[in-house]
């Protein structure tokens, strides 16, 4: 029996998985909106302490990485595996940059004594404790998704270089792209919710 291959099916499966990813973050958004509603002033004050410049920079990085992966798919479909690989490499680079900046941000906050259960944070108001609790769990979960994405992207890079992904068979790369875009979209919401609304 021939091996069954259904590109459209794979894409549907990926999308369904992404829907459940959205709801995974959805649970956190429910918490965020409820706690923001209950502690508007504390959230306002706490948001001032995040570094808006770094946040903006990270947003631009992710947006650009979304462009680079979409171009990588575009070129593999055209049969240009070299350009496709280069754009994949760029995406990986941007992802690492994102995590690097995130690392700088977190360590700065932790250096200031603002981390869950820190004596300094416990001395603050309850709304601020919640803000930072949510900040760490939401950006942390997002960062974890970026990290997982980086592993998948690297695997894709190998496959593209080996020619296992080519102009006839590119659905795995497309699905990786879908995942990466979703990670981008979640950041598009996290960024204003934590850094901008003050």
């Amino acid at each position: 029996m021939e091996t069954h291959r259904d590109d459209m099916g794979s894409k549907i499966g990926m999308w369904l998985f992404l829907l459940s990813e959205i709801l995974l973050f959805g649970g956190l958004f429910i918490l965020y909106s409820s706690y923001r509603y209950k502690n508007p002033i504390d959230f306002h004050l706490a948001a001032w302490e995040l570094d808006r410049v770094l946040g903006t920079f990270n947003t631009l990085i992710l947006i650009t990485s979304s462009l680079s992966i979409v171009l990588s798919i575009f070129f593999v479909q055209k049969g240009n595996r070299r350009l496709s690989g280069l754009f994949l490499l760029a995406t990986i680079f941007l992802g690492i940059l994102f995590l690097g900046i995130k690392y700088v941000e977190w360590t700065a906050k932790i250096g200031h004594g603002l981390y869950p259960n820190s004596p300094r944070l416990l001395g603050r108001s309850k709304g601020e404790i919640l803000f930072f609790g949510l900040y760490y769990s939401m950006t942390g979960l997002h960062g974890l998704h970026v990290l997982i994405g980086l592993f998948i992207l690297s695997a894709m890079l190998v496959l593209v270089m080996k020619g296992k992904i080519n102009e006839h068979r590119f659905v795995p790369l497309e699905n990786t792209g879908l995942y990466w875009h979703l990670v981008d979209i979640i950041w598009i919401f996290l960024f204003p919710l934590f850094y901008l609304i003050t």
């Binding site: 099916g9 499966g13 309850k126």
Partner: protein, 539 residues
């Protein structure tokens, strides 16, 4: 023996048991991507866990046989009722029908050779097995067996010294398994229907599993993140559920029930699908109101996702929320009622043979009706103030889950047994087992309704003497029930060992799984069939 003459039986094909794949022995099973083998893998584990959980239930009932009965210490009782709940809910009832019968029969019923993603299907089973292993590992590590109740309510679950993080991690893994199964089932239903298998020619079991799969995809992640937060909270103290740090314990309950109420529909919808399969076959006539049943599955899945707040009427949530949730709760009863009426109407003017599958299906209707109707009583705002968190609720959900889903499961098992194993069980003996089980069931659970109405709170390891009589009756019922279960499963095992060879279509069913050999060959269909009529047209 054909579906409109298009399904030619040209093969003497070997059954999937005899399939010679890459691996031998046990590996040929636990590394197989064949949906039928994976279905049986689930069956094996689930029956194992079910018997463990039944044993815990038996111990609980034994402890409650008399006030002050010195069988075990409070901590032990608290751990046992927690484990009974966690195992039955997360390891048995949620995966049972979709993962066993959905896996085995959904592809065959829509005329496919396998699931859309066979490898992911195997991965799901491995995640399920590892999640279960982690839950059991949590009993012997760190602080020992969990004592939080299966609900893990914060802040108690944040404070207790037992091994909560590992247990919730195990459940988290089970959730991933459930999501992947859901993705697989939805994609399969969309992509792999045979030519001619239009949406309204799908067997109603497929509709039930399909609706369930959507709930699995959309609701499971919410509890995933909630349990992840419990873990993070315990390790890092982020404060999101801890009132001492501003967290709101009621938000934990919202997130928990956003999944865990629809989970009840994950349990019951596939069982309803089974009943919708069995009744027409044994009445020899088309199901009454096919579309109403199909759409009510979707309605139950969607409206059922909006009623979680009825677990929180006395929690201190706003009165406004309670009113809305109560209204929605009453409304979700309507599609369930429609199904029941349609099933009963299908019997009308049929040519009925009361064989074991039908017997279990009709028992489902009776017990599920009691469960549903007691649900209406406790869904009323005023009455809920009295009945919430009492034995009434314990009785109610056992009528739904065991009486509904459990009997649906037994119906499915007896209906598809000859197809799955190619052997027939002794039907007369099944009837005997059914009588014992049915009597035991009602003696066990009906007194709980009265106990609850009298004010007996749940999760008590001991109780005041006035409640003694009913507790005693209930405990005796548990023995009868277990005897019935043993009888029924013993009979099936006997059937497996020395039952007659089953015919390909012993019940003269019209859906696709009955048109192929028993047990099915590895690839189900030699040629993908072309479907020309509905699943209940017996002609």
């Amino acid at each position: 023996m054909t579906q409109n003459g298009v399904l030619e039986k040209t093969y003497p094909a070997a059954s999937f048991y005899d399939h010679q794949g890459k691996y031998r022995g046990i590996l040929a099973w636990i590394l197989s991507t064949d949906h039928k083998r994976i279905g049986l893998l689930y069956l094996g584990l689930i029956l194992l866990f079910f018997s463990v959980a039944v044993f815990f239930g038996f111990l609980m009932r034994l402890k409650l046989i008399a006030p002050g009965f010195p069988l075990m210490k409070p901590q032990m009782y608290n751990a046992i009722f927690t484990l009974h709940g966690i195992i039955q809910i997360f390891l048995v009832v949620i995966p049972a029908i979709p993962a066993i019968f959905g896996n085995f029969f959904l592809p065959i019923q829509i005329g496919a050779r396998d699931m859309a993603f066979p490898k992911i299907n195997l991965l799901s089973w491995w995640l399920y097995a590892s999640g279960a292993a982690i839950v059991f590992l949590s009993l012997f590590t760190a602080g020992g067996p969990i004592d939080t109740g299966w609900t893990f309510y914060a802040p108690y679950s944040l404070r207790t010294t037992v091994n909560v993080p590992l247990a919730v991690f195990g459940v988290f893994i089970l959730g991933m398994s459930s999501i992947l199964t859901g993705v697989n089932l939805v994609t399969t239903t969309h992509r792999l229907r045979a030519p001619g298998m239009s949406w309204f020619r799908l067997p109603l079991f497929v509709w039930g599993v399909y609706a369930t799969a959507w709930v699995q995809i959309l609701a499971t992640p919410v509890i995933g993140i909630t349990f992840a937060l419990i873990m993070i909270e315990r390790y890092f103290g982020i404060g999101v559920f801890d009132p001492a740090k501003g967290g709101d314990p009621l938000l934990y309950q919202h997130l928990f029930w956003i999944y865990s109420h629809p989970a009840v529909y994950i349990m019951i919808l596939p069982a309803m699908g089974v009943v919708s399969e069995v009744i027409p076959v044994f009445s020899r006539k088309n199901i009454f109101g096919y579309k109403a049943i199909a759409f009510s599955s979707i309605a139950i899945a969607s409206v059922g996702s909006l009623v979680w707040g009825h677990h929180m009427f006395v929690s201190g949530q706003s009165d406004f929320a309670s009113v809305i949730f109560s209204l929605l709760t009453f409304l979700v009863a309507v599609p369930s009622a429609i199904k029941v009426f349609n099933w009963v109407a299908t019997l009308y003017k049929g040519s009925i043979e009361l064989k074991p599958p039908l017997l279990f299906a009709l028992t489902f209707i009776f017990l599920f009706s009691i469960g549903g109707l007691t649900g209406l009583i406790q869904g009323a705002l005023a009455v809920n103030m009295h009945l919430h968190d009492t034995y009434w609720v314990v009785g109610h959900f056992h009528y739904i889950i065991f009486g509904g889903m459990g009997f649906g499961f037994l119906a499915a098992l007896h209906y598809w047994f000859p197809k799955m194993f190619g052997k027939m069980y002794d039907m007369k003996r099944t009837i005997g087992g059914w009588i014992i089980l049915f009597i035991g069931f009602n003696i066990l659970y009906f007194p709980m309704l009265i106990l609850g109405w009298e004010g007996m709170p749940r999760r008590y390891y001991d109780y005041p003497p006035p409640f003694h009589t009913l507790h005693l009756i209930s405990t005796i019922g548990s023995w009868i029930l277990i005897a019935g279960l043993i009888w029924i499963f013993f009979n099936l095992i006997q059937g497996l060992r020395r039952g007659e060879k089953a015919e390909d279509n012993p019940w003269k069913g019209a859906s696709l799984e009955w048109q192929i050999p028993s047990p099915p060959p590895t690839h189900n269909f030699e040629k993908i069939p072309i479907v020309g009529k509905g699943p209940y047209e017996f002609g």
